[in-house]
Symmetry: C2
Subunit: 684 residues, 2 copies
């Protein structure tokens, strides 16, 4: 039970078999390795392609102050806002405003390019509304739960583990009269919090006298609350449905068609981007734990007997932070490993899993995630479901700690088997042998005549039980019959043992020729929480630099051009007809080149206009200060070059498409010396 229950720290339900987005590292491990002192510091990029090491102005900020600065900028510039704000909002629901929406579209477009197109995956798009039977088969209806307690008077709901956790942390932080035994007890509870059953949680809540935090009223016993949004399909009210809690099931139920589409060949991967829904009891952690979110999921179907990957060589030399379970359990830190070595040494279970870990690393770092705040952490044996072969989470460090943003799991044949059993539709693959193969096969041949004589009306039940024996059981019986001539045999359908004699059954190993094998494919599942990745990206790209006055700090989102919501701005230096004509000409050329940009014709100083667009992460600014050539400024270095008007759109395209870096471009064009109207004029 413990084995299954420990999955809970990643999952709403203690015994729930799937691996959705997770809570941070379990406290036991956190206690062994407290998270690094927050390193979310200023990170002015040396070039726009390669993030430099953390350094600079915000280094001294506390974790909370840093988060407040980021969140404030994000909300003020409409990257996101709480949904339905004019009606007071709804906890756990957020809107992406224009720049946030553009970042999301860029992240998803890159995901599609990096995974679906480059790997030739089969993308599908299934509805969010899902009938109950599908989620019954997957286990969500029964087990996708969190333990909840209710205020006995007001009916307010709380997560039971949250209340116990808050109580213990509060005691440890604020109560200076604790005995060493009490301190140890509270620490122990924090460490095993996710292992506690409803009964154990309830008894601790009673023992400590924990009451409802808002009213001090007594609390109910903990009971499971299903996290799916329930609804009814069709008008009759009889057909129950749910908003899907993940996109994966839509792929599994289509396995047969997708396998056919792929020419009945393995391996192949299917992918889906879409909304998923979880009716959290009490959402915390802002954008990291929400009730509706975008998932991007891959199900790579593979022969369980051959998990090699033809392109593994493309990633095998990549080296990054990995945190194998042995190191976690021995109290060591994450370490840099080559993924090639991690696979060949058996740390990572197989090549395909390793290939996806490498591809996820490339995906995240190319988006702008700091490679020093990204690690791949292996699940501990007791975190994994019993059927899983191996699981690794891509965890990104942000002000909330290490956050699971991508789960990469080898789920073996679990999901396909579950839907096969429930639907009665065979979800399996077959391999035709080039040459027929000789295999040894167990053949059990009951003698109907002897069984009939001995068991009369019970004959059928005994016969079926004999035929259903597994290999070991049958061979044991064979040995027993050969030595003793008879053996006691339990027939479940009769509820008792019967005596089987040698004459009643023959058990033999026979050699047979087989022309093909049938099997349920294994599935390797990389699952991306897009909103979490984007939030971590916001934190990793954010930095501040000094403004005009001593106190003033200017906010910058140092997005790589790939994800920047707007690639370029066009500013006429001063309000002059001739500059506006040039600005519009450049804008037209940028539109034709497919580059998202804005023209700012306001009379604000150039410094102020730079500051405003640095804050939404625009990589390049074009200032029209002349009718033949213009100034192009790089956001992070603030370097400026002079480029001919006719050439400027293609220069911007070169940098924002990633064909050249700013450093490459700098070599080719004359530098522009910042004048009085430039950066330093930024106003508060």
């Amino acid at each position: 039970m413990l084995l299954l229950r420990r999955v809970s720290f990643l999952l709403p339900s203690p015994s729930f078999p799937r691996a959705p987005l997770a809570k941070p590292l379990p406290l036991l491990l956190l206690l062994l390795h407290p998270p690094r002192t927050p390193a979310p510091t200023a990170r002015p990029l040396a070039s726009m392609a390669a993030p430099a090491a953390p350094a600079g102005g915000t280094a001294a900020m506390s974790r909370d102050a840093f988060r407040a600065a980021v969140t404030n900028t994000l909300e003020r510039r409409l990257f996101f806002v709480p949904s339905f704000k004019i009606y007071g909002g709804v906890a756990g629901l957020y809107d992406y405003g224009p720049p946030g929406c553009a970042v999301k579209a860029n992240v998803l477009a890159f995901w599609r390019q990096h995974f679906v197109l480059e790997e030739g995956m089969l993308e599908v798009d299934c509805p969010c509304v899902t009938p109950e039977v599908v989620l019954k088969a997957s286990g969500h209806v029964d087990k996708f739960t969190d333990l909840m307690v209710k205020d006995e008077k007001t009916g307010n709901c709380y997560r039971a583990d949250h209340l116990l956790k808050d109580f213990c942390k509060d005691k440890l932080e604020k109560d200076h009269t604790l005995s060493p035994e009490q301190t140890e007890e509270y620490n122990k509870i924090l460490a095993i919090l996710d292992d506690l059953s409803a009964e154990q949680l309830g008894s601790k809540i009673r023992e400590y006298g924990i009451v409802a935090p808002d009213t001090k009223n007594p609390l109910s016993d903990p009971y499971p609350f299903n996290l799916m949004f329930q609804t009814s399909i069709g008008p009759s009210g009889l057909s129950s449905g749910y908003m899907r809690p993940e996109t994966a099931q839509g792929i599994f139920v289509n396995f047969k068609d997708l396998y056919y589409y792929n020419g009945n060949k393995l391996p192949f991967a299917a992918a889906q981007i879409g909304q998923a829904f979880r009716n959290e009891i009490s959402p915390r952690q802002g954008l990291l734990r929400v009730r509706e979110f975008t998932l991007a999921e891959i199900e790579h179907f593979v022969d369980p007997e051959d998990k090699s990957h033809p392109k593994f060589g493309d990633v095998s030399d990549l080296e990054f932070l990995m945190f194998p379970r042995e190191d976690q359990m021995a109290g060591r830190s994450a370490k840099r490993l080559k993924i090639g070595n991690a696979v060949s040494e058996g740390t990572v279970n197989n090549e395909t899993l390793g290939y996806f870990i490498g591809r996820v690393y490339l995906f995240l770092t190319q988006l702008g995630i700091d490679k020093d705040r990204l690690r791949f952490r292996q699940h501990l044996p007791n975190e994994m479901a019993h059927y899983a072969a191996d699981c690794w989470d891509a965890e990104i460090e942000c002000s909330y700690g290490w956050i699971e943003c991508v789960g990469i799991a080898d789920r073996s044949a679990y999901d396909l088997r579950a839907h096969s059993d429930k639907s009665g539709e065979k979800l399996e693959a077959h391999e035709k042998f080039a040459e027929p193969r000789e295999v040894e096969k167990l053949v059990i041949t009951p003698s109907k005549k002897e069984l009939g004589l001995a068991f009369k009306g019970n004959q059928r039940m005994v016969l079926e039980a004999l035929e259903a024996m597994g290999e070991t059981e049958a061979l044991d019986m064979k040995a027993a019959l050969e030595s003793n001539g008879e053996v006691e045999f339990k027939v479940c359908t009769l509820g008792k043992d019967v005596t089987i004699k040698k004459s009643m059954v023959s058990i033999n190993i026979e050699k047979k020729k087989e022309h093909q094998r049938k099997f349920t494919p294994s599935v390797i599942e990389p699952s991306f929480g897009i909103g979490r990745i984007i939030y971590c990206l916001f934190e990793h790209c954010f930095y501040q630099r000094p403004g005009k006055t001593e106190d003033e700090q200017l906010n910058v989102f140092g997005f790589p051009p790939l994800v920047a919501p707007i690639k370029c701005t066009v500013f006429p230096l001063v309000k002059l007809e001739k500059f506006e004509v040039v600005a519009k000409k450049i804008s037209k050329a940028l539109t034709a080149a497919g580059i998202s940009h804005i023209i700012d014709m306001t009379g604000n100083t150039i410094g102020k206009r730079y500051a405003r667009t640095d804050e939404i992460g625009v990589p390049l600014a074009i200032t029209v200060d002349n009718t033949t050539s213009v100034t192009v400024r790089d956001r992070d270095s603030k370097d400026q070059i002079r480029v001919e008007v006719d050439e400027v759109a293609s220069v911007v395209k070169e940098v924002t498409d990633g064909q050249s870096t700013w450093a490459d471009i700098m070599w080719r064009y004359p530098a522009h010396t910042a004048s009085a109207v430039d950066d330093e004029e930024a106003e508060p």
Copy 2:
């Protein structure tokens, strides 16, 4: 009431104020103008950019046979499949398989380019889960309904209007004993079907003895069924919510932030792409009426006093099929109009509405919609909500008739006012005048002393009622007081009339200087049903051509490269190591150029491989029949040219990016003469 009730033929609810996706033309009009005999015929494109006129092999097909051929191809090639098929499926829910998903992604990417980027719109992304208060304000909770009847024994549900419609059509088609009066009656009912109230529908159902079609059991009276999927937000069960029936409300509730984001300036447009949900009573019409679908909506906010559009000149010369309400009512046909003339002559209410009609035309035809089967139909006066200024639907003709795929409505200030009233948050814009303006203003000054003496405890109610008078009412009172000295005045809060004397109130028109005006913006809303557009596109692009044998018809989807799910295939002519090396080299170059493609290394004949990829609409095929140069074949003309291996990726990119047409390319490269292994080898 009729005015409102006629909206029903477009809407689930007779009086529902918004304009979602629609049913086809009302029967009254259909009877006046029966839809054109189905023209969904073979349409081999002369060049890939410009669709040619209908012609060819499928011309003689019936509407149903044509639809069956398209749908069969779509399902067989996994463009879409019924969702959750292994569990028996759910009516009205479909999955897009790999090619369908790619088409959808291409359509949405082009929508984003054509509208969001080119028009500088503010894109937002709001949740599907929506609290009740928002949809109460919008009117959906009360009025987003269809009339339903239940089988009184089994509880099966039916749409009341569907049953009556089926009954009348059946009578007209099959009962040859009908009297002229009966024929007239049934025809009349079909014409006014959408105007019938619940009572009228019920009485007709009883009069005709209509019973449940599946069981012949009696039916309940018709009653309204709300089409939203209901759910509960949070664990308490007390907070009701719905899956949004449209994306627009998410934009309206964010108006204030978006207006600020736009520098407090009008006009601006916000846009949203996302899932919407309607719990249809009994979905019919395959992909055209589904329970979950993707909408792309634009809300363009504009000063109601100035609906000009600066870029109207860019579209004003476009000429296309329009169907103004006068022509519909006079029994005439749709006609070709220049949108510039339609606006200047007042047929289309204003420039901004006209601009969007033009942009929608460009969007649809560039996707591959046949311009001869696309028309813009104006709503009849009784189809429009009372507040709407003007509405036009982009209707596309397919085998189901003319289908509304885009609604383009000037909804005046309705939506912002509704949310302003409900939330108490002012959703308005302001215009600062360059010079203060003198305006005439009504000033009502009650005398508290006189009112107190006359009405004592009721003074406050009378005073508030006086202050709340509208302009006309106040001026009438002023006139009455001046001529009679007193007037009877109804005070609603008292529930009675009181006598107001001249001394109790002074009413004057005063001149005031104003420095700004505040107003609720009008909103012009183009709303795109993406799934409907895609289905019509499938029909418009589909054609058949003769195969190898006499009976065989080969299916082709003549998608423009813009929407084609895969842009190019690579076929080694025969299984030779050297050809496979070249094929892989070309594939690498295509990937680097961002071109989606597949390699087919199977041993099938080239003709069979061409046929298979024509069927999923791949525009170009590269056959590797040499190690230095290869054959490139155009899907529609089947023309072939020879191109050097190193050049081929850039040639494909040129055509699929739309920089050149196939015709342009043909001039530059030598033609390749089809050999025995080519097209004609297609096998059944």
